[in-house]
């Protein structure tokens, strides 16, 4: 066995663990958790070793699974994601040992957790379409049962069903894409298919359209369902009745699968520029709606759910601008961050019951009591700092990694978002009540520098590792580009909208605009719309009831035969 073949062992170990627990759970009792943790640890260590191996320039390599026709890939994307998945899964396992101890189906929970871990790893290392489809499909089924771990709760199962049906809807385009690719290239092997597509992207047609673009669109749809994009997102904020470790695994890992799938099919997307543009729009809409709904929730868990939706929107949007590896970095960073939030939520609530631990300082009065500073610094100076400082930091950081960075539209969009976020941070800072405003601004700028430099260098490292060929990286950005005039006009319009928003906020705050009656009804209607989450889940519920009623009516008409 050579080193690369260990990737198969990494995927099989959780399967063995699940099988052993299932067979001997009555005998080993609580030992099921120890066995599961030990196997996951071993699998994680092996995957970390393989990641190091891949980092030293080994691979990519396609491997057969025994005598079967299944192919596994030892490549940068697969090894990196397998390590991340196993890392998160190990933390979730360790957390669950005590957290789930009171559950009746303790052993069964670890069986499901191990099966889910195995399915996720098979998904990321799958080298053929059949294995990919099987793993993709099974993740949805297993998540359904993990979310419904508490079989007493009708609510848990109701929302687990929402997840299942959305995932199943997302499975269908992937199956269609697999069938189309097989018919066109007469092989299930992803490597062969991708090589042929790169050699001649427009060799095949389907219904008069380029097959590559049709497949890209189908893969995009599959990714949207899995990563809770707008209109396919309703399952995400509502699946909080499942056990906390499952929520952590879901928000930190499973929901990111859309970003993985788009990355896996990068050779298809690099030849499907129009589809990438649509993906960008869907991601943008999701990011805006997710963030908006997150800010208006009064239930902390739903707010977290919508926060994940917003983050998934950003991740998909990054793919849409050609920054594929950045999406992987995003899923990694978001996974760690969101997983920590879920797993520490219980502890934080418990400590907060004793003492909220929040110092009644300037930050508290500003962020919690919403009492901004009335005394202002000269606005022109502050506006200049707000707009210029983040821009200088971002431009400088990016120039360090590549001089031609600004030739790519996708990079400019990312810079734009970075600039808006940075400016927002500084804008908020000097509205705080503080003795020394310059100290606060300085600290904000310093933290921005650290974040920006970290993000730039780490994302660049991801780029070099996942897509080592500079030509391919450039091709991804080029594919996602649009006409330069349209692009410039869009950037100017968006900038004007955002800056106008800041100006309006500033003057509204100064003149007490919000206290006026004018526009109150419009504002209330808007608030109602948001508080009902745009009525999307209500519409789906109504549609479901109508279909069930129709099904029942048909049965009556046909005498139940």
């Amino acid at each position: 066995m050579n080193m690369e073949q260990l990737i198969i062992v990494v995927a099989v170990l959780p399967l063995i663990s699940a099988l052993l627990i299932q067979l001997f759970s009555t005998r080993i009792g609580r030992g099921a958790a120890r066995l599961s943790v030990a196997m996951t640890t071993l699998s994680f260590l092996l995957s970390a070793l393989l990641l190091t191996w891949a980092l030293t320039g080994h691979g990519p390599q396609a491997l057969s699974l025994g005598n079967s026709s299944a192919i596994m890939l030892f490549d940068p994307l697969g090894t990196l994601l397998a390590t991340i998945i196993l890392g998160i899964s190990l933390i979730v396992h360790l957390y669950s040992v005590r957290y789930m101890a009171e559950e009746a189906a303790y052993g069964q929970f670890f069986v499901l957790l191990d099966l889910m871990t195995a399915a996720l790893i098979f998904m990321v290392i799958a080298g053929d379409l059949i294995t990919l489809v099987i793993a993709w499909y099974l993740v949805g089924v297993l998540l359904y049962f993990l979310l419904g771990q508490d079989t007493r709760s009708q609510t848990a199962y109701r929302f687990a069903f929402w997840t299942l049906i959305t995932y199943r809807i997302g499975d269908l385009p992937l199956i269609l894409a697999a069938a189309l690719l097989y018919n066109a290239y007469d092989t299930w092997s992803l490597t062969i298919i991708f090589n042929e597509i790169m050699a001649n992207p427009y060799a095949h047609q389907f219904l008069g359209l380029s097959l590559t673009e049709v497949v890209a669109a189908l893969i995009g749809f599959a990714a949207f369902a899995r990563s809770a994009q707008f209109l396919m997102h309703t399952w995400l904020p509502y699946t909080m009745d499942g056990p906390t470790p499952v929520s952590a695994l879901m928000h930190a890992g499973i929901v990111n699968a859309g970003g993985f799938l788009i990355n896996r099919f990068a050779p298809v997307f690099v030849n499907s520029g129009d589809v990438l543009n649509w993906i960008f729009i869907v991601g943008l809409v999701t990011a805006i709606f997710g963030s908006l709904l997150m800010l208006t929730q009064n239930d902390i868990k739903k707010a977290l759910g919508y926060s994940t939706m917003g983050q998934m929107g950003f991740m998909i949007m990054e793919c849409g601008i050609g920054a594929f590896s950045l999406a992987i970095y995003h899923m990694f960073a978001h996974g760690i961050f969101k997983g920590t939030m879920f797993l520490s939520a219980g502890g934080v609530i418990n400590s907060a019951r004793q003492d909220d631990g929040i110092p009644k300082d300037e930050l508290y009065t500003f962020a919690v009591e919403k009492q901004p500073n009335k005394a202002r610094k000269p606005w022109l100076l502050m506006a200049a700092i707000t707009l210029v400082v983040p821009l200088v930091i971002l431009v400088f950081a990016h120039l360090l990694i590549a001089e031609d960075y600004f030739q790519k539209q996708g990079a400019v969009i990312l810079l734009f978002f970075g600039w808006v976020t940075g400016a927002q941070l500084i804008f908020a800072t000097y509205r705080m009540r503080t003795q020394n405003i310059w100290r606060m601004v300085g600290l904000s700028v310093l933290s921005l520098v650290i974040v920006v430099l970290g993000y730039v260098f780490i994302s660049h490292a991801f780029d070099l590792f996942l897509y080592p060929e500079p030509a391919f990286r450039a091709q991804l950005y080029t594919a996602a580009s649009i006409d330069i005039l349209r692009f410039d006009v869009l950037v100017v319009i968006t900038t004007l909208i955002i800056v106008s928003g800041w100006v309006v906020t500033y003057y509204a705050d100064q003149s007490g605009y919000r206290r006026r009656q004018q526009g109150k009804r419009l504002w209330l209607n808007f608030y109602a719309l948001i508080s009902r989450e745009f009525y999307i889940s209500d519409i789906y519920t109504r549609l479901t009831r109508t279909l069930l009623a129709l099904s029942g009516r048909l049965n009556v008409w046909l005498r139940w035969l």
Partner: protein, 253 residues
């Protein structure tokens, strides 16, 4: 016998609406579990036999009718609460798709294999439903609920059998459906879309059945669960099915 008559006759066994109602009417009248098992095994095999023995050329309208029949029964499954009826409708929906496989020049023995492997999970469900009738007097969703807490082993087997029946990997029906999509997508894209819709409806109906049976608080009445040897039997059959599915994937895909 004219070709149309043969098609009509075969349409009773490989269900085509409205002849499909015959099977469900017969199932409704049979009360003995072992007779139901025989009916389930023999019915699709008779259909495959008629199609191959007669050597009938299947006209295109049969494909449309088969897909409509399958969709109709999959859709009607959504509102069913009686497990045997649900099983009968799923059988109707599954077997009508054998017409598509027959039209794609699937070898005779393989088509028998398709029919059998689609039917085995349904037979297991029949036996389990008989177990429910024996314990509770009826196999009805939402009637008692909470089976996962009351009889956990039975529920585990029940859930796995339902999952196998609705074409989940690695069971054979999954690979048959996958193969049918691969065969139809390029020549009849609409038929492939219909297949995917049917597949989705099965998942929906399966989830509703599972929820109606296993979710809820445990019953106060003490009810006997199944023993380890019985679990061993079901697990062995399901394992063989999964292996058959993997083998089938190598043959047909």
């Amino acid at each position: 016998m004219t070709e149309s008559m043969i098609i009509l006759l075969a349409g009773i066994f490989l269900p085509l609406f409205p002849m499909s109602m015959v099977f469900n009417a017969v199932l409704d009248h049979i009360k003995q579990p072992w007779l139901r098992v025989l009916l389930f095994i023999a019915w699709p095999l008779c259909g495959v036999f008629i199609v191959f023995y007669s050597g009938v050329v299947i006209p295109d309208w049969v494909l449309t009718l088969a897909l409509l029949t399958s969709t109709l029964y999959a859709f009607r499954m959504l509102s069913l609460r009686e497990v045997n009826q649900w099983n009968g409708f799923l059988a109707t929906s599954l077997w009508s798709l054998l017409w598509l496989a027959a039209m794609h020049d699937t070898p005779e023995m393989l088509l028998y294999g398709y029919a059998l492997s689609m039917t085995v999970p349904l037979v297991l469900l029949l036996i389990l439903s008989a177990g429910l009738e024996q314990r509770f007097g009826a196999a009805y969703t939402g009637l008692y609920g909470g089976l996962a807490r009351t009889i956990p082993r039975f529920s585990g087997v029940l859930v796995t059998v339902i999952v196998a029946a609705i074409a989940t990997p690695l069971f054979p029906t999954f690979f048959i459906m996958f193969d049918l999509v691969v065969e139809t997508i390029s020549i009849m894209p609409l038929a492939a879309m219909a297949l995917l819709l049917i597949w989705l409806l099965w998942s929906w109906a399966g989830a509703r059945l599972i929820q109606g049976l296993i979710v809820g608080r445990a019953s106060n009445v003490k009810i006997a669960d199944i023993g380890i040897p019985v679990i061993g039997f079901y697990s062995s059959v399901l394992l063989v099915l999964a292996i058959a599915g993997i083998y089938m994937s190598r043959v047909i895909l």
